[in-house]
Amino acid sequence: MKASLKSKENTYAYFPGCSLAASGHENNRSIYKFCEKVGIHLEELDDWNCCGSSSAHSIDSEAAALLPQRNISLAQQGLPLLVACPSCYIRMRSTHEELKSDDQAKEMYKNRWERNFDQDLEIIHFFDLLTKLDQTVIDKNMTKPLNGIRFASYYGCMLAKPPILRKDKRHTGIMEKTLKMLGAEPVSWQNFSKCCGTYLSVAKPEVTTKVVNQIMDNAIESEAECLVTACAMCHLNLEIRCSLKQQIPTFHFSELLCIAFGVDDHKKWFKRHLVDPVPLLKEKGLV
């Protein structure tokens, strides 16, 4: 892995977020394991807090600004901050951008957190690391090519950005590109960027079920054997709210990376899936 992101000896500060730290242990674990394999050291942000997620910005704008600010203030100077959850990433990046352009807010930040605002803090998503993944790293680490497993890469809303992040780079195609290098086969399908419904899963389950069923149905129609997600929330919704008779398993993107790289504790992760991916993996000779 090229150390072209400004990291000291490939060390990154790491913010997992509540979803990965709780319901998506397998996602969290596989990110750690993958990074370990490619020589990246993750230092979990000490005493990090919830970014406020969708609820803070929905009903309490002040908390929506201050919760990510606290996390930013905890970041160690000089280390890029790796955020695993797409939604937390947008909250943290937007907050950082807003502070950058507002001197008064910067002053308030300084007073509240008793720390100077780090203008140059680099907040990156897991996918930013993958853009650095080149063929040599793959050749060095790949022990189990993914044997043509046909996958629908499901990005959910992570490709969409609010106007303040409009100029951010997009990671459209990164899952396809990376998994293809690892021997899997992407299918072409429509619903790759349709939002899964996030918390409507609790308050309006029928709305989420409708959207999730469309996503699942379309993936199956495109002859995918599995869905691959980049978000623990999407993964959860795809599994708990799908009411179709026929369902294909869903993987966290990092889980498939780990399989290809021969990480051995992955069997524990699959027990946590509601749709068992083991039969498919057996068929492909991957477990």
Partner: protein, 177 residues
């Protein structure tokens, strides 16, 4: 109820980055509505909300289900040719609806947000099991989804105990108004 011009101004001021949330820029191309995955669950299409705001029609907008159904997935504003930050306009409208005490279009969704923030205030993190329990208690509907809840527990997707931030005072100070 018609929003006074001062209140309309507040909607604008409340939302972040003034130039980017100028709903007067909307020219009804309907790209937002075409892109929205949750349009079926909304009573007023997002482009119509923008038009109503331009006309200063406060009450129906604040009472709509749309402002609550919007999850802020950014699909609309990502494709908006005028780069109007529609989700942020929705944020401001929700908060204005609460402030004005109008009938909330989707009380269950508000209930969810309240339970979620209670958890964040208490622990600094979202404790999903407690959020779900409190949500169901307030909704007086303990049994819908009980099977799913048990499955999630069995699959260890819900932690029994909350993880608490050490410096909880700094979290509490965020919620002190």
């Amino acid at each position: 109820m018609k929003l006074s011009s001062q209140e309309m101004k507040r909607v604008l001021e409340d939302v972040r980055g003034h130039s980017e949330v100028n709903f007067n820029l909307c020219f009804q191309c309907r790209t937002c509505a075409n892109a929205c995955p949750f349009l079926d669950a909304m009573d007023i299409h997002p482009n119509v909300i923008m038009r109503m705001l331009q006309f200063g029609m406060g009450e129906p907008v604040l009472k709509s289900s749309t402002i609550w159904v919007c999850v802020g997935c950014n699909t609309c504003c990502d494709s908006c040719p005028m780069a109007i930050d529609i989700p942020t306009v929705m944020d401001a409208l929700r908060q204005l609806a609460m402030e004005k005490g109008v009938a909330i279009g989707e009380p269950d969704i508000l209930n969810f947000h309240e339970q979620m923030l209670k958890s964040v205030k208490k622990y600094g993190r979202a404790h999903k099991l407690e959020i779900m329990m409190r949500y169901k208690l307030k909704k007086k509907d303990l049994f819908q989804d009980i099977g799913l809840g048990l499955t999630m527990l069995a699959k260890r997707k819900l932690d029994l105990r909350a993880k608490k931030v050490k410096d909880i005072q700094s979290i509490e100070s965020i919620f002190k108004k």
